[in-house]
């Protein structure tokens, strides 16, 4: 019998660019170290994997308001520190390009290509009025906490970012 692959699970709770970059850096590295990696996007972390234009789901008044203030899409994420109305983020992106570091928008398809699994939390989706169609194609399933806990219980590496 083939040995079961080692596993890693990463909860992406945060919707900030720097935190998402850290999550994807570790996810892609683990994937090329022959580890089966699952990223579970929940709460603000959903913004990392939503399309820039959402609106497929039914939203009530509050959700519409929240949606206007909390627009998703990897390109839109802010820095957790020194964002300075986008100035800090622009500087960071410029530096990253100068040092040939892949952008988050490049890392997402790269992680997928390396076999990283993308799961989105259905509870957070309901809360924010998001539909499956609001997500980028890398997201392969829409699940609850039990799916994550079951995978985490078999994983040696388990991060909450």
């Amino acid at each position: 019998m083939a040995k079961e692959k080692e596993m890693a699970t990463i909860v992406v709770f945060s919707g900030e660019l720097d935190r998402a970059l850290a999550a994807f850096n570790i996810a892609t590295t683990a994937a090329v170290m022959d580890i089966d990696v699952t990223m579970f996007f929940t709460f603000w972390g959903l913004n990392v994997v939503t399309k820039e234009k959402t609106g497929a789901g039914d939203k009530n008044q509050l959700q519409k308001m929240m949606g206007m203030m909390n627009k998703g899409g990897a390109r839109r994420l802010k820095l957790s520190k020194m964002n300075m109305f986008g100035g800090g983020k622009a500087a960071m992106k410029k530096l990253m390009a100068e040092y040939h570091m892949p952008s988050l928008e490049e890392m997402i398809p790269m992680a997928k290509e390396l076999g990283v699994h993308f799961l989105a939390c259905t509870t957070s989706m309901a809360l924010m009025g998001l539909d499956e169609k609001d997500f980028v194609s890398e997201v392969e399933d829409f699940v609850g906490a039990a799916t994550y806990v079951e995978k985490a219980s078999r994983s040696k590496i388990n991060l909450f970012i």
Partner: protein, 76 residues
């Protein structure tokens, strides 16, 4: 040391040298040797960690003028 293929990772930082090494080895035949050239010194620790985990063979790390020439043999 003679390599079957050379991978230029000059100017690239973690995780790209390791990711590119993995992708390149995937396209090579068992037992072939890849030379990775990198200048991110993280590679000194990262490449042994990666080969140790994946079962590829780290043959040599040569350091000259701030460049690391890393020779990895694909597992068979």
């Amino acid at each position: 040391m003679e390599a079957d293929k050379v991978l230029d990772c000059i100017g690239l930082y973690c995780p790209m040298p390791i990711v590119k090494t993995a992708q390149q080895l995937n396209e090579m035949k068992d037992g072939e040797v890849l030379e990775v050239i990198a200048d991110d010194k993280g590679i000194k620790s990262d490449m042994p960690a990666w080969t140790g985990k994946t079962g590829h063979k780290l043959l040599e790390i040569e350091e000259k003028d701030g460049e690391f020439h890393v020779f990895v043999q694909k597992r068979s």
